[in-house]
Symmetry: C2
Subunit: 356 residues, 2 copies
């Protein structure tokens, strides 16, 4: 049986959009055979990330269609290549935003594969796979996936898989800047945008010992914020008196970036992880940075594989999980609508097994 997997293409069933204006439809396709360093993972859960919506609708750039989104993937290893050492059949595995990279450049050697200096980062979907004849790579809204074992995250057998899935993007995206900015006990951390990413940022920051303030578009989720350990909650930056060491902006829509810079203390940092649609992406006038001097702004883009494993271990150890709502694949369009209109509470996760 395994020999077939290593020589023949793997049949897969997923859910795809065929254009930026399309709704999701069942989509039958195939994946490349399991290479000697690859694992074949049966996908059990796939989280829905706001990036999926931006990509499916070509809001960042023109997408590659048909597109099977999904880069928050948790499942079970069902076949392995003959050089695989990290997994055995039956293990749980997680796959996030990347499935391959050159492995040889300085960035890859430091496990910052998202910055592969040879431009060979293969993102999980909406990306051509330069290691496999430039075929489009399809994401997690499907029943299986084949990836290099280096890009599969080890997940212990007792982990709640449906909660693990969203960690692979929402988790690492918020964990990484908290570590990059060296958040520690007593740090003042603001979290702007309180959806799937924002709620994870709050939970991590609280466990790291920070005093956390939340900025949300309305007060629908105020109680949830306090339940997660936030100390303050705002629906506007106007009149806010406290100053922050770090503000993580997860906001996926246009907003006034400088309003958050002005809430930083001397030496404070604004980490931007939310990416509004390209057509309305906010801009920072450098003159404003000079007049609000000594406050740093940076972007953060997921995190490397090593840090993703560290994030997952940290999350499980501290029982930091996303708030999730399990849905079936037939409800993806509805979920997108709820996320776009702000009606979604936190993270939708597709139960792929039940969807088939």
């Amino acid at each position: 049986m395994q020999n077939d997997f290593t020589t023949q293409r793997i049949p897969a069933k997923g859910y795809a959009v065929s254009s930026k204006d399309d709704k999701f439809q069942p989509f039958t396709f195939s994946r490349h055979p399991v290479g000697e360093n690859d694992v074949l993972v049966e996908i059990l859960y796939a989280g829905i990330c706001h990036s999926d919506i931006h990509s499916a609708r070509s809001e960042w750039r023109e997408g590659i269609y048909p597109m099977v989104p999904g880069h928050e993937i948790a499942g079970r290893v069902v076949a392995i290549g003959n050089k695989v050492s990290k997994f055995k059949v039956g293990d749980y595995a997680g796959i996030g935003c990347m499935v391959n990279s050159c492995g040889e450049c300085e960035a890859c050697k430091k496990s910052q594969e998202q910055f592969c200096e040879n431009g060979k980062t293969v993102f999980t979907y909406d990306c051509l796979d330069c290691f496999h004849d430039n075929e489009p790579h399809y994401g997690g809204y499907s029943d299986n996936i084949v990836v290099n074992e280096k890009f599969a995250i080890k997940v212990p057998q007792n982990a709640p898989l449906e909660k693990v899935a969203p960690l692979l993007c929402a988790g690492i995206t918020t964990y990484s800047p908290l570590k990059f900015s060296k958040v520690k006990k007593g740090s003042k951390v603001g979290v702007a945008g309180f959806g799937g990413l924002g709620s994870m940022a709050v939970k991590y920051a609280v466990v790291m010992g920070a005093d956390v303030g939340v900025f949300a578009r309305n007060d629908n989720k105020k109680q949830e914020a306090f339940d997660m350990g936030a100390k303050s909650f705002y629906t506007s930056t106007d009149g806010v008196k406290e100053k922050f060491d770090l503000i993580i902006s997860t906001i996926p829509t246009p907003y006034d970036v400088m309003a958050y810079v002005k809430l930083l203390g001397y030496g404070g940092e604004l980490a931007i992880v939310g990416l509004p649609p390209a057509a309305v992406s906010p801009k920072i006038n450098i003159a404003n940075l000079v007049w609000s001097a000594n406050r740093r702004v940076y972007g953060s883009l997921i995190g490397g594989i090593k840090e993703t494993q560290e994030m997952l271990d940290f999350s499980l150890e501290n029982k930091i999980y996303p708030e999730t709502e399990i849905i079936l694949a037939k409800d993806i369009d509805k979920a997108y609508e709820n996320l776009t209109t702000g009606k979604a509470k936190f993270r939708y996760v597709i139960d792929m097994k039940k969807s088939s």
Copy 2:
């Protein structure tokens, strides 16, 4: 004699523009009497900063006219208020970009007077003096100035005053981000824009032990850069292979900010100190920061008084001086023209004594 100074307004002669399109003309005015904590300084040298041009021409915002620019001031104390302890008559003193602030807020207490939280920073010119009936404050292109002793920098008697003057803005503006970004031996520092500010940044960074690369608009001053200790020199960011820990941008005209962000290594920082005219001030799309993640951008605005004194002491100890060309006040318009067209080599300094 001193009693007169403390009760009567001080007559002053300076050089002013009466509108943004005007040329400089002699201008007779008066300054407030010497308060108990004030010093009256006879101005001997006044540097010409690119900010003077932006302000005189209302390029940042509508200016306050008549305007006497100049915030790089060196001179001799000729009278003191009865509570002054830092200076005695005959001492040398330097005055930079600020002449007063509230002194009571957290920022002022930390000697970050440029960020006075009560909005009471009095800049040396083009600013109303809230401590003196909101009269316009006039700058250094004049024969004297009255300031609170806290805002006068101590200058030893053996210092070359004409070289000290530009340090009070060009020096502190470049010294401050080098310290803020913790430049040390072996740091890779880029300096973008190689005029009055840029050349100071190069000299400080070299003395701090950094490997310095210079980005200039042409190679007219390539030899000067190497003479100052720069290791590399570029006239474009295209194709540059080296990565920097810190790039200080002193560029006063429109440019592609992201081109410099992309030359930063992981964790590197772009410090912006140059302020192009407001109408053409560059903007950073936050999406680009995310795609070039983990590179920080911040603005830096002169520096506090305590750090300015530290900078001056450091400069004198290490004999770090600006390249200067002494001119007379009648040549200010010509100097502005040369600075605007890139013909000026480095810093023009007005000899106020010879100009009168």
